[in-house]
Each structure stands twice: as structure tokens, then as C-alpha cells.
Amino acid sequence: MTDMAPMESWFHFLSEGQFRIQQSRNSGTYVFYPRMLAPGTGEDDLEWVEPSGLGSVYSTTVVRQRPPNADYNIAIVELDEGPRLMTRVEGLPPSEVRIGMRVRARISRPTDGEAILVFDVETLP
């Protein structure tokens, strides 16, 4: 994996059913999205690590569509490790996703596209 480009690695891990984020070896800071350098310090000491998979909904919205297209959720989840990412919270109507909900990562494999990281509600706040 070490000779694979950052973004390529991210999608490769997902395709293998694995959720990985980067961490700076020196500072311990977790980093998302995947990149070559640790933001702020500029050090090229990022390593791929396995996060807990747990996080909280930091904000949420719904992409409203005209029928027959279904509405869908867009959320920002803050991982317990610190970084935030754009994602989708699934398993409940998109408008019922609430800020503060505890969520757990899952890799979704749509039949028509590449594997993506989504979240399921862990417990109600």
C-alpha cells in the first residue's frame, strides 16, 4: 500500500471492505481526507490506521428530489478520532437523522458503483 497514491489507497481499502484513515506518526493527529502531508505541520509522516468506526453526527441535511426519485441524507460525521467527513447516515428516513446521534461506520457496496463509507445509527442521543 505504501507506494499507492493517497486517494487511490482510500478507495482501494474501501473496495477491500476496510475503513482506514491517516495518522501523523510524530504528532499522533488523525487526518481525513487522504493526503501526502499532515496539514499544519507539512510533515510527510502519515500512516494508514484503523479507526474505531464510531462517531457523532455533526450536521445533517436532506437532498430533496422530485418523485419518483427518493430523498437522501447528506451528513457530516465527526469521528471519535477527531476528523470530520461527508457521508450518509442510513437505516432511517433521511430527515430523521439528528445532530448528536452516535453512529457507526459501514462500507456500502452499491451494485451500480464503487464501495462507499456510510454510517448507521448506534444509539439515540
Binding site: V62, V63, Y72, R84, M86
Partner: protein, 384 residues
């Protein structure tokens, strides 16, 4: 080194808009060129005198070159800085420094877009990144909805308060013959509109129009001898906090906090000295966020601040006096229109919507998804 521009050393001496609304068949450059002609005529300066050109068109990455060619200019300085809709408020900052240093003598800053009649939907030079694209967010709409949702969660801001921003903008637009969306609009009307991205409704979103704007800047010594009252740049500052919405450090705090404080410090003014405010209202939440971050009210109080018509005509703080992006015009990037409206108000040319005794205007531009923030403080000659 002072680390700042010389307060008031340059001025806006010409300002114009053109083609607001629908201009079917015209290219963006056609509209930008006409606005440029009108702004130069307003200043009483010949096109051939322009030796600094600042431009940013949404669909044209090299628009600085395109407009120079179209107008037959050979500028000494061609700046195509694109930080989104805030770009034009960074153009004035850099133009002022270049003018003051004598690198050029006459600066034209221009914009034009045919996005309404060309496509009927928002044309954006940016969209979701590779990492966000799989989730199919509507960028920029989803991003501003996420910010609004967080503000509501953290501070109890309500849909009624967001609607009050839209209603205030419409009341200003109703006084502006140039505004695209005119007619009655109540809070109840807004709340009855379709939700497009929770919690935002159609009425929380800016217009999609065609249109163009341009301004002309010179050094203060020349500005003094021109036909119209020069409007001086007293302070200008910008700040960037992120690019993608998920990377914004705090969805309820924008970098307007930094740009506003630095621009006011340059101008030697406090927020209480500001007579009129022109804010980039791509969505109703923007107005609330910027009023807070610029210091007109404490963080979290923006929703309550706008209630009761405080920012509407007759209210204690005139905000977006042309009707804003929500009801006047929004041809893809709105930044330059903020400056044109401020110039008209400070010159006393704003007709029915004119605010009496106006000497200081604060213009605030926003780019990307609350990513780039740029503040300009403008003043009449007596404030220099």
C-alpha cells in the same frame, strides 16, 4: 512594514451594473464588457487608460485574458484571482496596493454571467470533490444547509428567523427598480415554500439571474478631479478557512471574523461606525452568520437580531439595500454587486432606497462554501 494598505489612498470612481435579469443569447463577456463601458463612462475615464484588469468569470478559468482581448486592452496587471464570489473584494485590495505602488494607474474590475438564460441553473466553477462526490451532495446548496442545520441546533435559530432575512431583502428589492424579484413576500409565504435542502426552503436561496457589474479604481489624487464623488477604500482584508464544507473548522463560525476585524482595523473604525452593510447572501443563513462574525451581534444571536425588521427598510441597520442575492440579482458570483450598491448609497444615488447621511459602508463577500471571506470598508471623501 505596516502590513496594511494606506487607508483611503485609492478610490472607486466608477460603478455600474448591466443586464440584470435575463439577457438571452448574450455571452458572459458581452455583459461584462457593457458593464465595463458603463463604469468607465460613470468615471469619465477612457477605456484606453485602463492598465490594470481584475476579472473572474465562473465558466472561464482564464477570464482575465479573455476580457482583455475582448476590450482590446494590454494591461500591465491582469489578475484572475478566483476565491469564489468573494474574489472581487480581494481584487479591490490588491488593486489598491498596485495603484498605490504605481504599478498601474487605472484599474477595471469586471464581472458578467449569462447563467440564467444559458442553463437555468446555478453554474458553479466548483462542485463536490472526489471524496465527497460519491454521496451526491448538491454543492453549494447542501453545504449551506449543513451550516444552517448546525446553527439551528447550537443556537436555536428558527426557520422564521431565516425567513425574516428573505423578507427584509425583498422589502429592499421592492424599492429598487433594478431588482429581479419584486412583489410582496411575508414570513408565512416563505414558510409555505418547498424545502429543497433541510432546513432550507426555496425562499432561503439566492436568485439565478444573468447580469454584470464593473467598477473603476484610481489613486485618490486623480479621483478628486473626476466627475463623481470618489468612494475611498478605507480597509480591505480576506481570510480562507477551508474548501470543502466537511473541513470547515466550525460550521457556525466563518472567517469573516478575521477578515472583518482586520479590515476595520485598517480603516481605523469600529463596527458601530458602519452606516450600511452589504453582505453576500447566497442563502439566508449567510446574512445571520456574517452579522455575527463581523460583530454586529454576539455569536448565536443573529437569528434574533434580524427579527422585527431590524435589517429591513426603516430598521436600525440597513443590510443589503439593493435586495441582495436573495431578491436583487445573483448571476453566479455576487461579490462585485455589493460594491456597486455601496458606491451608489455613499454617493447618494440610490433613489427610493437611499439611506440618509451615509458615509461608511461595510461590504462582505463570501466564496466557495463559506470558505473564503473578504471584507471591504468604503467611505466618502469626508471619512478619509
Amino acid at each position: 512594514m505596516s502590513g496594511q494598505m494606506r487607508r483611503g489612498s485609492t478610490a472607486i470612481v466608477g460603478a455600474a451594473t448591466y443586464g440584470n435579469g435575463e439577457m438571452k443569447g448574450y455571452e458572459a463577456l458581452d455583459l461584462a464588457a457593457q458593464a465595463s463601458r458603463l463604469a468607465l463612462a460613470d468615471a469619465g475615464i477612457k477605456l484606453s487608460e485602463v492598465d490594470g484588469l481584475f476579472v473572474c468569470l465562473p465558466q472561464d478559468f482564464l477570464s482575465g485574458l479573455s476580457l482583455a482581448e475582448y476590450l482590446g486592452l494590454h494591461p500591465k496587471i491582469t489578475d484572475n484571482n478566483r476565491t469564489g464570489g468573494s474574489a472581487f473584494l480581494t481584487h479591490t485590495e490588491l488593486a489598491s496596493l498596485a495603484l498605490d505602488a504605481g504599478l498601474c494607474d487605472v484599474v477595471l474590475i469586471a464581472y458578467g454571467s449569462n447563467q440564467r438564460t444559458m442553463s437555468g441553473k446555478v453554474v458553479s466553477a466548483f462542485g463536490a470533490s472526489r471524496i465527497e462526490q460519491p454521496y451526491k451532495p448538491m454543492i453549494p446548496l447542501s453545504a449551506y444547509a449543513l451550516a444552517a442545520a448546525r446553527h439551528m441546533y447550537q443556537y436555536g435559530t428558527t426557520s422564521e428567523q431565516l425567513a425574516e432575512v428573505a423578507v427584509s431583502a425583498r422589502k429592499w428589492a421592492n424599492l429598487n427598480p433594478e431588482a429581479f424579484a419584486r412583489g410582496p413576500l411575508t414570513i408565512e409565504d416563505c414558510l409555505a415554500k418547498r424545502v429543497v435542502a433541510d432546513p432550507l426552503r426555496v425562499s432561503d436561496c439566492c436568485l439565478v439571474t444573468d447580469g454584470a457589474a464593473a467598477i473603476v479604481m484610481t489613486r485618490a489624487d486623480r479621483a478628486r478631479d473626476l466627475a463623481k464623488k470618489p468612494i475611498h477604500l478605507l480597509g480591505a482584508a480576506a481570510a480562507t478557512s477551508h474548501s470543502q464544507i466537511a473541513q470547515m473548522p466550525d460550521l457556525t463560525v466563518t472567517a469573516a471574523k478575521e477578515s472583518g476585524a482586520r479590515a476595520l482595523a485598517q480603516a481605523g473604525l469600529s463596527i458601530h461606525d458602519v452606516d450600511i452593510v452589504e453582505l453576500y447572501d447566497a442563502f439566508t443563513i449567510n446574512t445571520i452568520l456574517f452579522l455575527e462574525d463581523l460583530g454586529f451581534c454576539p455569536k448565536g444571536e443573529g437569528g434574533r437580531f434580524v427579527q422585527g425588521g431590524r435589517i429591513a427598510p426603516g430598521g436600525e441597520l440597513p443590510v443589503n439595500t439593493n435586495g441582495g442575492g436573495l431578491s436583487c440579482t445573483h448571476p453566479g458570483m455576487y461579490g462585485l454587486f455589493l460594491l456597486v450598491e455601496a458606491v451608489r448609497q455613499l454617493r447618494g444615488e440610490a433613489g427610493e432606497r437611499q439611506i440618509a447621511d451615509t458615509n461608511i459602508a461595510l461590504c462582505h463577500g463570501n466564496g466557495g462554501v463559506l470558505s473564503s471571506q473578504a471584507t471591504n470598508i468604503l467611505g466618502t471623501p469626508q471619512t478619509v
